[in-house]
Amino acid sequence: MPAALTVRGLRVRYGPVEALHGVDMAFPDGAVTALLGRNGAGRSTLLRTIAGLLPAAAGHLDWRGRDITGWTASERARAGLALIPDGHGVFGGLPVRDNLRVFAGTGPIDPALDAFPVLRQRLGQRAGTLSGGEQQMLAGARAILRPSRLLLLDELSQGLAPRVVAQLYEVVTALAAEHRTVVLVEQYAGEALRRADVAYVLRRGRVAFAGEPAELLAAGHPSVFD
């Protein structure tokens, strides 16, 4: 499996303090990678740096052979990197239909409506007035609509009923089968691990584990999380 995105020696600083102390990772093409760690371990920082919302203090990001370290967030998004941020990644003031239109870019919005039929009845409603779970579904719709090559999903399952989570995971796994690269960042280690081909555990800004999900599941490895 060739790597779609390679992270080399990535350091991210908030001023003089480092949040990531030299992280090396590779996200293989057409596979699901699980990125785990306790709250505050640096998972979101890593995702946001990859998406271009935070600058790297040192290190490189290679995206299919190109160094994208200096690119802006929207340049990366147009090159096929998509971050679905945690906590209702929707445009609250816009109707659901326009949310989907912005997400879809030039494409049609129907695939999202087929995946989440509830949204079809809400097309004219402002996204901010949807229930928490519906907003999360709408945010997840972006993963389906954007022809992104790399999907970064931050806490996808937050606030969602188990069935919707299962549905979203189905969609995500299907995407990976179409040679997309998927990175799952999750608090429920179990579900993400079961879906993943590769797993990383971050601990205090460093990679504490890199390998097969089965190793983590089998051994439990509680120590790598602390």
């Binding site: 709250n39 039929p117 999360q136 806490e155 606030g159 969602l160 188990p162 608090q187 429920y188």
Partner: protein
């Protein structure tokens, strides 16, 4: 830390009257009946959980109970008193504390002051003292309540840190601590485990068990089934604004209606389930 009495209010009065009940609650949004005739009892010394698919009306029900929204029909009673039309802050002063789905702490205040706001505005202080900001007779009690709540929520280490500097996981606890500092008899929790990692969720579970054990009536709306089935005494399953099943966790787990509406990830796969589609 040794278990102390956290809830004198609950132990001073007989447990029976402290119960929070809802009868025939209805709440519309336009043509949509988000809550459609719900009966619910939140008894003391128990954890009551409400689960259901997204859009089933759980949050609306929660808001009606907490006083942030008014039901269009139905009654809400607390200690035998009709509180249906009571605004949210008055319910809080009666001893019905709540937390929020999106954490609503006071970021500019320290953790201890967050809790103190909760403790100070509980009934007891006179309105004049409240407005003038004078220390009232309850001052000592406030300090005690804050300390106890800090301890319970395990926030003593961060008591003097402004809440705005803490990560989300801790903020959930700050919010819970603020609710506890008000010395409530009913605790309403809106997705308390959302944003918590596995270890934090486990601690939340232990804390909720302990609070119920000390006499509180706890209601939680939650998607984390592990937490719900690990902690609840009674589970209500909602779909399309109605309660489709209720009972002990074991009974609900085997209930066909509950499975169809929510629990079984394979039921209705690929097509909208009867519940969420219409809600």
């Amino acid at each position: 830390m040794s278990p102390r009495h956290v809830v004198p209010a609950a132990t001073e009065t007989p447990p029976g009257p402290d119960v929070l009940t809802a009868h025939g609650l209805v709440r519309h949004f336009g043509g949509l009946r988000a809550v459609d005739g719900v009966d619910l009892t939140v008894p003391p010394r128990q954890v009551t959980a409400v689960i259901g698919p997204n859009g089933a009306g759980k949050s609306t029900l929660f808001h009606c109970l907490a006083g942030a929204q008014r039901p269009d029909e139905g009654r809400i009673r607390f200690r035998g008193r009709d509180i249906t039309r009571l605004p949210d802050h008055r319910r809080a002063r009666l001893g019905i504390a709540r937390t929020f789905q999106v954490v609503s702490v006071f970021p500019s205040l320290t953790v201890a002051d967050n809790l103190r706001v909760g403790a100070e505005n509980r009934a007891g202080a006179s309105a004049a003292a409240r407005l003038l900001g004078l220390p009232d007779a309850a001052g000592g009690r406030t300090r005690q309540a804050v300390e106890r709540a800090l301890e319970l929520a395990e926030l003593t280490d961060v008591a003097d840190v402004p809440a705005g500097r803490l990560p989300t996981g801790t903020l959930r606890l700050v919010e819970l601590g603020r609710a506890l500092a008000a010395d409530p008899s009913v605790l309403l929790l809106d997705e308390p485990a959302s944003g918590l990692d596995d270890a934090e969720t486990a601690r939340m579970r232990a804390l909720l068990r302990r609070l119920a054990g000390e006499g509180l009536a706890v209601l939680l709306v939650e998607h984390d089934m592990e937490l719900v089935f690990g902690v609840a005494d009674t589970v209500y399953v909602m779909a399309a604004g109605r309660v489709v099943a209720s009972g002990t966790p074991d009974a609900v787990r085997d209930d066909p209606a509950a499975r169809a509406a929510y629990l079984d990830p394979l039921a209705g796969d690929g097509e909208p389930a009867p519940g969420p589609g219409g809600s």
